[in-house]
C-alpha cells in the first residue's frame, strides 16, 4: 500500500497549499488596492482569536458549518451533490424555532430535544424530496435541491410574516428553557453567543465518522458512491441508499439550521436571500476532503476568515468589499484545488512513471 500512503500525503498537501495560495493572492489583492496586507491579516487574526469573545464567536460560527459540511460529505460519498444545504438548514431553523415558540410553558427537558429533532426532521424531509425523486424518477438532485432552496426561502418568509407573526420581520424569542445558550459558556467567552451547539458539533463529528467507517449502512453508502452498478450487483439496494444518504445529509443540514435558530439567534427573521451558511458548508466539506477531521479543521478556518474578516475594516482600514474579495480568493483556491493536484502530480508523477512510459 505504498501508493496509498503517497496519496494521503498529496491529499494533505492540496488543501494546505490551497489555503496558503489563497492567503498570498488575498495579500496581493490588498496590495493592489493600496492596503497593508500584514496589518490586514493581523487584524483578521486578532478579530478571530484575539480575545475570549472572538474565540467564542469563531467557535459559534464554526459549529453549524462543520455539521453542514458533514451533511454535504455524506451525500457526496454516495455520489450526490447536495447543493440544497441552505434550504434544508433554513427549514431546520424555521421548524425548530416554530416548535419552541409554540409551547412556551413546556419544560426545557422535553421542549429542547423535541424542537431539535423537529428541526432535524424538517431538513431531512426537505432533502428527502430530492432523494426520492432521484431514486424513482432519475431527476437531477442538483437542480431539484437548487430549486428547493428558493422554495424554502419563500415558504419561510411567508410563514414568518403571516403565520408566526403579524406581518413582522422577526419572530419572538424562543422560551429561555429551549435555548441552546449556556450562561457559563457565554461568560467564559466574554459574552459571545457560543452555545451548546459546539458540543453537538463535536458529538456529531464522531458519530458521522463511526457511521461512515464502521457501520454497514455507511459502507453501503460509500460503495454506492464509488460504483452504483457494482453495488447493486453485490446485492445492495441502490434506491434505499440514495434516499438514505440524502435524508441524513439533509438532517445534518437541518441540525446546522437548528443551531442558528436555537443557539445563535434564538428566533428566526425574514431572510433577504438564501442563507450563505449552506454554501459555506459545502466549501468546508470540499476543503476538508469530505473527511470528518478535515471538515472540523476547514470549518474552523472558514469561521476564522468570516469572523476575523469582519474586524478588518475597523482594524486596518481594509474595506468590507476588499475583505470579501480576499475571503473569496481563498475559497477560490479551495475550489480550484484540481489545479494544484495537477501540478503536484506532474512534478511527483514523473519519477513514478519513468520506467513505465518510456
Amino acid at each position: 500500500m505504498l501508493s496509498e500512503n503517497k496519496k494521503t500525503l498529496t491529499n494533505l498537501t492540496v488543501p494546505i497549499l490551497s489555503v496558503v495560495l489563497g492567503l498570498v493572492l488575498g495579500a496581493l489583492i490588498m496590495l493592489g488596492f493600496g492596503y497593508d496586507p500584514i496589518a490586514g491579516y493581523q487584524s483578521m487574526i486578532n478579530g478571530a482569536l484575539g480575545s475570549p469573545f472572538y474565540i467564542g464567536e469563531t467557535l459559534r460560527y464554526a459549529s453549524p458549518l462543520i455539521i453542514i459540511g458533514l451533511g454535504f460529505s455524506i451525500a457526496n460519498s454516495a455520489g450526490f451533490f447536495n447543493i440544497g444545504l441552505s434550504g434544508q438548514a433554513l427549514m431546520g431553523w424555521l421548524v425548530s424555532v416554530w416548535v419552541a415558540i409554540s409551547f412556551p410553558d413546556v419544560s426545557g427537558l422535553i421542549l429542547l430535544p423535541v424542537s431539535v429533532i423537529a428541526g432535524v426532521l424538517a431538513g431531512a424531509i426537505w432533502a428527502g424530496i430530492a432523494g426520492v425523486l432521484r431514486a424513482y424518477f432519475g431527476t437531477s438532485e442538483v437542480i431539484i435541491t437548487i430549486m428547493l432552496n428558493y422554495t424554502a426561502l419563500h415558504v419561510t418568509n411567508y410563514l414568518i410574516r403571516n403565520v408566526l407573526t403579524e406581518s413582522s420581520d422577526a419572530t419572538a424569542r424562543i422560551p429561555e428553557q429551549a435555548s441552546l445558550r449556556m450562561d457559563w459558556l457565554s461568560q467564559l467567552a466574554g459574552g459571545s453567543r457560543v452555545n451548546a451547539g459546539l458540543f453537538i458539533a463535536i458529538v456529531v463529528t464522531i458519530l458521522v465518522w463511526i457511521f461512515m467507517t464502521k457501520t454497514t449502512m455507511g459502507y453501503e453508502i460509500r460503495s454506492v458512491g464509488m460504483n452504483p452498478f457494482a453495488s447493486q450487483y453485490a446485492g445492495m439496494n441502490a434506491k434505499k441508499n440514495i434516499i438514505l444518504s440524502m435524508f441524513i445529509s439533509g438532517g445534518l443540514a437541518g441540525l446546522g439550521g437548528v443551531l442558528e435558530g436555537m443557539g445563535t439567534f434564538n428566533n428566526i427573521f425574514v431572510q433577504a436571500g438564501i442563507p450563505n451558511i449552506g454554501f459555506d458548508g459545502m466549501a468546508v466539506a470540499l476543503l476538508g476532503l469530505s473527511h470528518p477531521l478535515g471538515i472540523v479543521f476547514s470549518g474552523l478556518l472558514f469561521a476564522m476568515l468570516k469572523i476575523g474578516g469582519a474586524s478588518m475594516p475597523l482594524g486596518s482600514g481594509v474595506p468590507t468589499e476588499v475583505v470579501d474579495i480576499v475571503i473569496a480568493s481563498i475559497i477560490f483556491f479551495v475550489g480550484a484545488n484540481y489545479l494544484i493536484r495537477f501540478f503536484i502530480n506532474k512534478f511527483s508523477g514523473k519519477k513514478d512513471v519513468k520506467g513505465g512510459v518510456k
Binding site: F33, G34, Y35, D36, S51, F53, Y54, E57, N76, G79, F81, N157, R161, S167, S168, D169, A170, G191, S192, R193, E260, T264, F265, N267, F269, V270, Q271, A272, G273, P275, N276, M282, A283, L286, I307, A310, S311, P313, L314, G315, S316, G317, V318, P319, T320, E321, V322, D324, I325, A328, S329, I331, F332, V334, G335, A336, N337, Y338
Partner: protein, 358 residues
Amino acid sequence: MENRNIKRLLGLGLTTGLVLAACGNGGDSENTETTSEEAGSGEDFSIVMVTDIGGVDDGSFNQSAWEGMQAWGEENDKEVNQGYAYIQSNEDSEFVPNINQALNADFDLIYGIGYKLQPAMEEVANANPDQKFVIIDDVIEADNVASVLFKDHEAAFLAGVAAATTTETNHVGFVGGQKSAVIDRFEAGFLAGVYAVDPTITVDVQYAESFGDAAKGKQLAAAMYSNGADIIYHASGDTGNGVFTEARDRMNANPDQNLWVIGVDRDQTDEGVYDGGNLTLTSTLKGVGQVVQDMSNAAIDGTFAGGEVSNFGLAEDGVDLTEGNLSEEAWAAVEDYRQQIIDGTIVVPEDPAEVVAE
C-alpha cells in the same frame, strides 16, 4: 471521477461569484479608498454607525446618516476610521456581530441606523450599561440608549399631495422596503396625502421585502408603470435605486411620456438624471444626518439624552419635502397642507388600515 468534475464546477461557480462580487462592489471601494490614511484625533471622542441593510452609498437612508457623520467629523477635525466610522450590515444575521465589533473597538457612541437593529441593539445595550447607544426609528427602553423617531408619515403625506397634484393618469404607486411599523408610516402618510387631494386616484402599493434588492425594485416599478401609474414614491433604501433605474430606462426610451419618482430620506435629485432632464419629482427628507451631529455633540457636552425618546416631525424640521421639480401649483398645495399639519388641523395617520379613500 464525477467528483473531480464537480469540484471544477464549484471552482467555476466560485470564480463567477468572485468576479461578480468584484464588479458589484466597485463603487464602494472607491468611496473608502482614502480611509487607510492614519491621523491622530485631537479629542478622543469617537462615534460609529452600524448600517441598516445596504451600504453607506445607498443614496438614501444609510447615506444620510453617514453624511451627518462626515459633517460631524469635519466639524471636529476627525479622520475616518479614527474618530468616526461605519460598519456595514449585509444581512440581518450580521447586526449583533457588527454592534459587538463597534463595542470592542471602543467607540464612545454607537448608532444603530434603522428599526431592524432594535432587537440586536437592545440585547447588547442591556449587557453593556456603560456604553452609550442611539437607535434611529425605534425605541429601546434603557438609560444608556437614546431613541430617535421621525414622523415619516407627515413628510409622506406631503409626497402624496405632490403626487396627487402632479399625476396625469390619476394613478400613482408606492414601493415599500419591508412591511414594518416604520414603512407603514410612509405608506399611510402617502395614501392619506393622495386621498386628501383626490380620493379617486388609484394607488398601487407593493413591497419588495428587502431594503437591498434593486432588481426587485426595478421589477415592481416596471409593473406599476406598465399598469398606468406615472409617479412612484419609494420608501425602500437601496431597493429604490431599481425604481429610479426603471424610470430612467423608460424615459430614455420614450422621452415624450411623463414618469416621475419621489425620493426618500434625502434629496435624491441626483438619482433622477436621465438624457432629457431629471425625473425626481421631489424627495421626502429625514434629518438623520442632523440628528447624528446633534446627538454626538450633546454626548461630548455631557447632555446625552439617554433613556429619552425624541420624535421629530414637520414642526421640528425633522422631516420635510423638497421643492424639486414640482409645479408652482403643486408646491402651493404642499405648502398649504404643510401648514395645516404643523397647526394640527390635519392629523396624519400612521397605520395604512386607518386610511380610507372617501
